[in-house]
């Protein structure tokens, strides 16, 4: 009788241990405040935050006052993506920033982006091959830089990411420029907001 109880207890403990040992994984909405934030490294929400601020600045300073000009009347202005320099210690895909801005600008109904004219070659080579020479040249180009600055005071570590963007017209004049800085502090490799 005693042995039977002991066996049952052992089996129950084993089952409980097996149940608790499994990996705990959950899906998180990308726009939620539950995303992992690290001091060292640009997190996915940092790109969304910078892109959101840049798009709002473009709308506030250029689009909403009606200063954005299109070379073809009645059509949205055409944008080409120029060089976005990554001056951080990380290898990052700058499209994490630029694509978000492109999508947001397209949704304004005031801007379209060329997929055949871009710095470093066409984004869509097939269109370039099948479509022949472009019928329309861009009205503006978007260029920029992402810079990283680190500081440390005692146990506190600080990393700043500076996002700089410029919109130039075809005369080479920057008609819009902005800079957004995201600063993160922490005492351990990983911190929350």
């Amino acid at each position: 009788m005693k042995n039977a109880r002991l066996y049952a207890l052992t089996i129950l403990t084993g089952l409980l241990a097996a149940g608790c040992a499994g990996p705990k994984v959950t899906y998180v909405e990308p726009d939620s405040s539950r995303l992992v934030t690290t001091v060292e490294g640009i997190n996915i929400q940092d790109f969304a935050q910078a892109a959101d601020a840049m798009t709002a600045s473009l709308i506030d300073n250029l689009i909403n006052p009606g200063r954005l000009k299109s070379s073809v009347p009645g059509e949205p202005a055409l944008l080409a993506i120029s060089r976005i320099v990554n001056n951080t210690s990380e290898q990052i895909d700058t499209d994490l920033l630029v694509k978000k801005i492109r999508v947001a600008l397209l949704r304004t109904g005031k801007v379209q982006t060329s997929t055949t004219i871009a710095f470093g070659g066409a984004e869509d080579p097939l269109v370039k091959e099948l479509g022949g020479p472009p019928r329309r040249m861009p009205d503006y180009t978007l260029s920029g830089k992402i810079i990283e600055v680190r500081a440390r005071a005692g146990k506190v570590r600080q990393t700043s990411y500076v996002f700089q963007l410029s919109l130039s017209n075809m005369d080479g004049i920057a008609v819009w420029e902005d800079e957004r800085t995201i600063v993160k502090q922490g005492t351990r490799p990983s911190v929350g907001f």
């Binding site: 539950r34 506030d60 006052p65 907001f193």
Partner: protein, 142 residues
């Protein structure tokens, strides 16, 4: 004997706590008669977290639409506590049919306010189709 040792210990502990939790309140100055003419709008609030409502209390909301039809909003918030508070906020935009406008730039923005500080949260609608908005405030979770 016990009282003799316990009292200095208690005093030291209180002093240490006071030093660690020192308040960071904000002093401000502004014109007595502001020139700006704010277009304040009436708002509807759902308050489920009273401590958060003290840390980030909405003073007022004003809105204006630009020449190209983009709605711009400005929410004045105030930290009604004595210490620095962290929070995040998220803005949702809706079209004239009340449908949510989804964007890849949607994000929960972190923000902090010193004790007693008032600040402005500004946002511009992503498209002229956006006619309404909703702002959600949350406590930091990680």
């Amino acid at each position: 004997m016990l009282m003799k040792t316990a009292l200095p210990l208690c005093l030291t502990a209180v002093l240490c706590l006071a030093a660690g939790c020192r308040s960071t309140r904000v002093n401000t100055v502004e014109p007595a008669q502001p020139v700006a003419n704010k277009q304040m709008i009436s708002d509807q609030r759902v308050l489920l977290d009273q401590s958060l409502n003290k840390a980030v209390s909405v003073v007022g909301v004003n809105a204006a639409t630009g020449p190209e039809g983009f709605l711009k909003i400005q929410v004045e918030v105030e930290n009604r506590t004595r210490s620095r508070k962290l929070f995040t906020y998220r803005i949702e935009w809706f079209d004239e049919n009340g449908m949510l406008i989804e964007l890849p730039t949607a994000n929960a923005r972190p923000r902090s306010l010193e004790g007693g500080e008032r600040a402005m949260i500004t946002a511009t609608a992503p498209t002229p189709k956006a006619k309404d908005f909703r702002i959600k405030f949350l406590e930091p979770v990680r």
